[in-house]
Symmetry: C2
Subunit: 150 residues, 2 copies
DNA sequence: CAAGGTTTAATTGTGCACAATTAAATAATC
DNA sequence: GATTATTTAATTGTGCACAATTAAACCTTG
């Protein structure tokens, strides 16, 4: 009872790309939500947490360097960093030797968060419940995708 | 030359969870960007495209059903669907038999997009450059994560 | 050293994403 | 059948995410 004038196309959601891209999109959002209970205690969002991860390593970074590491532009970072500045977690100042650049420096209150956040990765790993093998495979494939789409 | 009073913690970004969660977060955003050139031609965003994928299959769905499939709540969907309604891709009306529900129905202009979008999945697959084996493994692992975090 | 080009952030505007609240309709229970 | 509880969308408010533009500082090259 299918009229030849309206050929039923392949079930669109069953298309291979959609079977991968939607789960990736959804998993990313679920993951952010999984962090939420831990980050909320620290009044932190996931992107802000990523900024701190980098500052805990380097103490001082330019906006550009942060943007390159996180693949985020100044349109995202500038207001985010201003919010973090207001909470005294970091400072923002122009580089005196090159006024184009803005130096983001970790402040004591931001350093203090490190100890309070150090348990988070372990909690997340537990939630994910991946074997070591699965973990490595997934990381590798995500890296492949990042490389491909870079 | 390391003072014992400041024990250097494990490089935070090297923590296992961060080596997985950040790539997942980044890959998801890169993927959305990879769709952009194709979707832009159709004046469509990625979440709007996902709504259409479902409507191409079902013609009419409630907001609740869309939300369950896409893991999005009315706070996200209501304004998104209103924008799509304005473009005449779909209609929104209360279910007469249960006024709590809003029925989203595909309109002709929304149906027309199906033919214009049908090449997109193949283009994306090409960009991802995954072998069939990698593809299945990745899909399975993302599914695992979605299940774990559900 | 002046003109033109490049680099770096900030700004502007649009569109998710989601928590929390509200409000209306329906269902359940007494 | 009125009371209470549940379901469903909409609303409100905050915070990304990103394209496009702007503006200042710096660099280059003639």
């Amino acid at each position: 009872m299918n009229t030849p004038s309206t050929p039923t196309p392949v079930n669109p959601m069953q298309q291979l790309a959609n079977q991968l891209c939607f789960p990736l999109y959804a998993a990313s959002r679920m993951l952010t939500k999984a962090y939420q209970p831990y980050l909320q205690e620290l009044e932190l969002t996931y992107p802000q947490y990523l900024v701190l991860l980098l500052l805990w390593e380097h103490e001082e970074l330019t906006v550009k360097a942060l943007g390159e590491q996180l693949i985020l532009d100044s349109g995202t970072l500038t207001p985010l960093l201003k919010r973090m500045e207001q909470k005294q977690w970091l400072s923002r100042r122009r580089d005196p030797t090159d006024e184009r650049m803005v130096l983001i420096r970790l402040l004591p209150a931001g350093r203090d968060l490190q100890a309070r956040a150090c348990h988070i990765p372990k909690q997340l790993l537990k939630k994910l419940a991946l074997t070591s093998t699965e973990f490595d495979a997934l990381r590798g494939q995500l890296q492949h995708i990042l490389t491909q789409l870079a």
